[in-house]
Symmetry: C2
Subunit: 296 residues, 2 copies
């Protein structure tokens, strides 16, 4: 199957999973804001990465559903907060008004909290315990909590806010931001696929390296897109970085320098994927797809 | 030991625990805002409840430390967000400027996220796994995630926001808010004490009933205090509820009606504590202390 087709097939499957996992909350006052964000069309890259790794080990898709949902919930939580007036103050996301524009800042914030918390509820649910045993579920909770926290996603976001109007930011700081704000959840996604797919310790190390490097590259490509594409192409308010005088790989290294950096990170990610014992065809194809985008 | 002395002794112990558990993040950009909130002097009621239940079963305080910290972290997260301009917009908490007043709304929000996430990291840490085994740790994660989420703490907060300027709110709605916004985390605290202290299923049911009823009573007493005490006494901006035209037990039932309700919930909580096989002396004393406050 072509990688684009495979990716679409996975996103379609994941959309159904998200719907199912949020359904028990239909009566909640927070359902409207939670579903507006979580079920809004998206690429589902992070759960797709988890699913791909998991399916390299085993074919039983059913059991991994709560994990796929948990990953996208953490992503949705970070997006809602990222867009808030007190943060990036964005009106548009994926071509639609942002959650706080539709549901108000208070409900948007509480929906994000509920999504983060629900992610941990998913990973520790009785169904997960029965399917995978307590040890692996707890390892997943620990991995997600570590990578989503002050030393991961939230730490990256905090550094991003602190340096947001500082044009003198060093490359190392931007790398820290990308590694954590974007890379950490991508890392968590492949690691959770490995944990529940029973990857070996050696493969867990390779998945870690893949996630880290692919994550940074993915964010650099996003910076490149912000600098060179139109609003219609990205679905977000374009040219935000320049408008916000935000230091990025592009502002520091120029467009071609940023692209070169992205290709370096992608090469490292590819190497890690190639050496996986469980097989990394999907991950390799994804790297090649992103590299193609960079070169175009 | 007198209950007040015992309570102070516990708070002192918990302060040390909080310090220890946050220390690994000293280098983080979020440490200042996280510690400002978490280490700010407080009663430490919730971890004290957990510790009391745990110590009814076993005397080994060391092992439960990450759990005590996790509970106070969730409490601190909820307080930071509660005070934000987009929520209650409070300038004062425990007699000190609120976290966003000192660290800015963006850092305050991210610190709250980091605290919530760190709570789950604490409950699933390698040290916890070694001390209690994966099954009990996972049960604790599930309990906390369920009671802190859309059907618990966050759901209560959402309902509170939705009805915040509605003077026609029904008593059932206010009860829902108190049960979730305040009660759920108190419930989680005693349940976690029971989980790690190996309480029987019957006792877990009693702890659940205690937490639920004590939690609601505790919030009613807070409403009563807001209506009748000065700022100096509560450490918070007083008279907020009336100023915000907020419906409370006091606005609906009057001061004496609200007090009577509180005493009813306390009586139910006391009954549950009395019937505990593990012994509920501390919980009973706490109920009696609160009842005394209501009657004074």
């Amino acid at each position: 199957m072509d990688i684009r087709e495979h990716f679409k097939d996975q996103a379609y499957y994941i959309d159904g999973v998200l719907d199912d996992c949020l359904a028990p909350l239909k009566e909640s006052v927070l359902y409207a804001a939670m579903s507006y964000s979580l079920l809004s069309p998206g690429k589902r890259l992070r759960p797709a990465l988890c699913l791909a790794v998991y399916e390299s080990c085993t074919r039983d898709r059913e059991r991994i559903k709560p994990v796929l949902a948990a990953i996208e919930m953490v992503h949705a939580y970070s997006i809602i907060q990222d867009d808030l007036p007190m943060m990036d103050n964005s009106d548009l996301r994926r071509g639609k008004p942002t959650t706080h524009k539709v549901h108000g800042a208070d409900m948007a914030l509480l929906a994000s909290d509920a999504l983060l918390t629900l992610a941990f509820a998913q990973l520790s649910s009785p169904a997960m315990l029965e399917a995978f045993g307590a040890d692996r579920c707890l390892q997943a909770v620990q991995t997600m909590a570590r990578l989503a926290g002050a030393d991961g996603l939230v730490g990256g976001q905090a550094m991003d806010m602190i340096t947001s109007s500082d044009e003198q930011v060093e490359l190392g700081t931007i790398e820290y931001i990308h590694r954590n704000k974007t890379g950490a959840l991508i890392q968590a996604s492949v690691l959770l696929g490995g944990i529940f797919g029973c990857a070996s310790d050696a493969d867990m190390g390779r998945l870690n390296a893949f996630g880290e490097n692919f994550g940074i590259a993915y964010q650099i490509v996003d910076d490149v897109a912000d600098a060179s594409e139109t609003e219609e192409q990205t679905g977000k308010t374009a040219g935000q970085d320049v408008k916000n005088r935000k230091a990025t790989y592009v502002s520091l290294l120029g467009l071609s320098g940023a692209k070169e950096k992205a290709l370096q990170y992608l090469a490292t990610a590819r190497q890690a994927a190639v050496s996986l014992d469980i097989g990394g065809e999907f991950l390799i194809s994804l790297v090649d797809l992103l590299a193609e985008k960079v070169r175009s």
